[in-house]
Symmetry: C2
Subunit: 379 residues, 2 copies
């Protein structure tokens, strides 16, 4: 919906006569285009009034973050009469819920992190309390890398015949797919359900095999981190074309300082030579994008940081810089450990710099994951 | 909508009798939960048939990317009879459009990058052709950093009175706000409209002042890059708590190799000492999270890489590792250039590691941007 209070109000009214529950997001901010509370008050035919709980909770959040309080923020504490305030744990705009006609409306902020936390902590308990819960949902999440969604779907053909009542869901967060196995079951049949989903998971695993990066829904970087921590090994990274993305993915994982020592993002040749000890001759003979350069980068950063493993990337993320011989989408990935150092070339043809950076970074992490688990490398 | 062909079909039917245009996204994939084309065929009462254009375009995409063709992909080329195929420039699933009753339906894939490109290249031309275009929309985009949305809204109060007919939009992509000034105008009044929006932009700029990072809608890293390239200066980065995120943001910008030389992501103290020449005594006396450490990191990386500028971060991203004196959310940011090196401490209290990494990285880039433009630092 656009930011038009009349249109929103009439949509709310329509919904109020046909749905039991309605989740609304967005339009709770302090600015003039935030009109959701106003629309709700019109739809319900009630006034807006300052909610003291909302005011207190907002002021506390502002104090905590050292924000300056403006009169506009008071607007955010104006809620429709008869509504119940919901705390925003992650931002300023309080939410609220209110019954209109048949329907229980939940109004949440639009910022995803704020909405998610409010849904979990505020909306869910109200729903459970009001509607009870005689069913539970079991979900198994498998992180899959190295297959397009169509190929994964093909490999899992027959699932619904083999496991009636269970459902498969696919979500692509390029270049990773999350495969979800979903089972809704009566709450009293917990054990039977656990057994059923376990069987389904084994069936899926037997088909996706080594493409499953994590059976616990971890990210690829999270799984690599888990393996390094478990094996008490440390890692150093040398990045050229991925420009810090590998390091950032690794350090998104809390506790990564236990195994991650150093990353050298060496965009210039000088940095490759001076910091990673890549031989000048290698760069002169082969250029920056070459397996030998990648190998020396991985080995160099490993020694420099005193790490157990080194991984490296050098390639062409585009959009410029490609040649016939070394096109955009080509990347050399190095891997070094105690007594060995190798490099491999991969060629992708995705359309954007951002996609190339991601697939390069993930492929480097996957090389290391396969090494750490003794799984053969991708062809 | 869920993945239920019957429910989708009945929603499409309802829409077909009340709307002129309907944009549908998602459910065009090859897997069993992708049922949008089927739902459309039921809603329209037409069969699904293999579309030869769709088949050719998909096969070309598969060849280009070296993907393996599976029989499931054939399903994706099955379109409702009477529909027109739309090319997916960014993925496998073709889209299509079809008229049902009053309404022209456009079916696009759900993956954002694929949807956006199809909307721009395939849907838009059809809409312009079918509905004509006697109005244009002018949009000015300002990238704003360092203000919560409520404060920006407060500062821009009065906009709608001063500029009737223009609209302000706010979009938060934490921790950055995009402020949009929007003007829809008759196509023949181009010049008057340009003048009008220019005035509105000046009005907004006079109120948001230095918080406006880019008047062209560039990212903060993009603007820093533009300034560095324009001033023919180079940059090196030393990252601790941001773990490579600054580098990754900088290298998201095409052409960043012109000014970005090196980043040392030094998670371990050894790496700070050996690679950035931070003094061991500094770390012993003050610890890793301290202004003196940040200053030496910025200065060290600048000298190491032979860059004009060095920036650095060291802080506590959380969730663990905080103390009373150095709590989660505290960061020291160093900035060094020819003849100077400084550091400043900032304290934030956002709730997640990811948010802390982002605000730390952006604050470091903002310190450099303000230095490059001669703007005073934030208080």
């Amino acid at each position: 919906m656009g930011d038009d209070a009349e249109k929103i109000a009439s949509a709310l009214q329509e919904i109020s006569s046909c749905a039991d529950i309605c989740l609304v997001t967005g339009g709770l901010g302090p600015t003039s285009d935030d009109v959701t509370a106003l629309a709700c008050s019109r739809a319900g035919g009630v006034a807006l009034e300052t909610d003291q709980d909302a005011l207190c909770s907002m002021k506390a959040y502002f104090r905590k973050n050292g924000y300056e309080w403006t009169v506009d923020n008071e607007k955010q504490a104006m809620l429709p009469v008869g509504s119940h305030m919901m705390v925003n744990h992650n931002g300023t705009a309080p939410g609220f819920y209110i019954r209109m006609n048949l329907c229980l409306f939940f109004f949440m902020p639009g910022v995803p992190a704020e909405m998610k936390m409010m849904l979990e902590r505020e909306v869910r308990p109200v729903l459970v309390q009001k509607f009870g819960r005689d069913h539970d949902i079991l979900i198994e999440r498998l992180t899959v890398f190295g297959l397009p969604e169509s190929r994964a779907g093909f490999l899992l053909k027959g699932f619904h015949d083999a496991f009636p009542g269970l459902r498969l869901g696919f979500r692509t967060d390029f270049p990773v797919i999350e495969v979800k196995i979903i089972l809704a079951h009566p709450s009293r049949e917990k054990e039977a359900a656990a057994l059923k989903i376990q069987k389904a998971r084994d069936w899926v695993m037997a088909r996706l095999k080594n493409r499953v990066v994590s059976e616990k829904g971890l990210t690829l970087a999270g799984e690599v981190g888990r393996l390094l921590a478990f094996q008490k090994k440390t890692l150093a990274v040398a990045e050229s074309c991925t420009g810090g993305l590998i390091s950032s993915l690794i350090t998104d994982v809390a506790g990564s300082s236990d195994y991650f020592l150093f990353s050298g993002v060496t965009y210039s040749n000088d940095a490759k030579i001076n910091i990673l000890n890549v031989r000048e001759k290698t760069l002169l003979d082969h250029g920056a994008v070459h397996e030998e350069t990648a190998r020396e980068m991985a080995e160099g950063v490993r020694l420099k940081a005193g790490a157990d493993f080194g991984i490296s990337t050098t390639g062409i993320a585009g959009p410029g810089g490609g040649t016939h011989e070394k096109p955009v989408g080509m990347v050399c990935i190095g891997l070094a450990g105690e007594g060995f150092s190798t490099a491999k070339t991969y060629r992708f043809s995705f359309d954007t710099r951002a996609m190339n950076k991601k697939i390069f970074a993930m492929t480097a992490l996957e090389r290391l994951r396969r090494h750490l688990t003794g799984v053969p490398e991708t062809p």
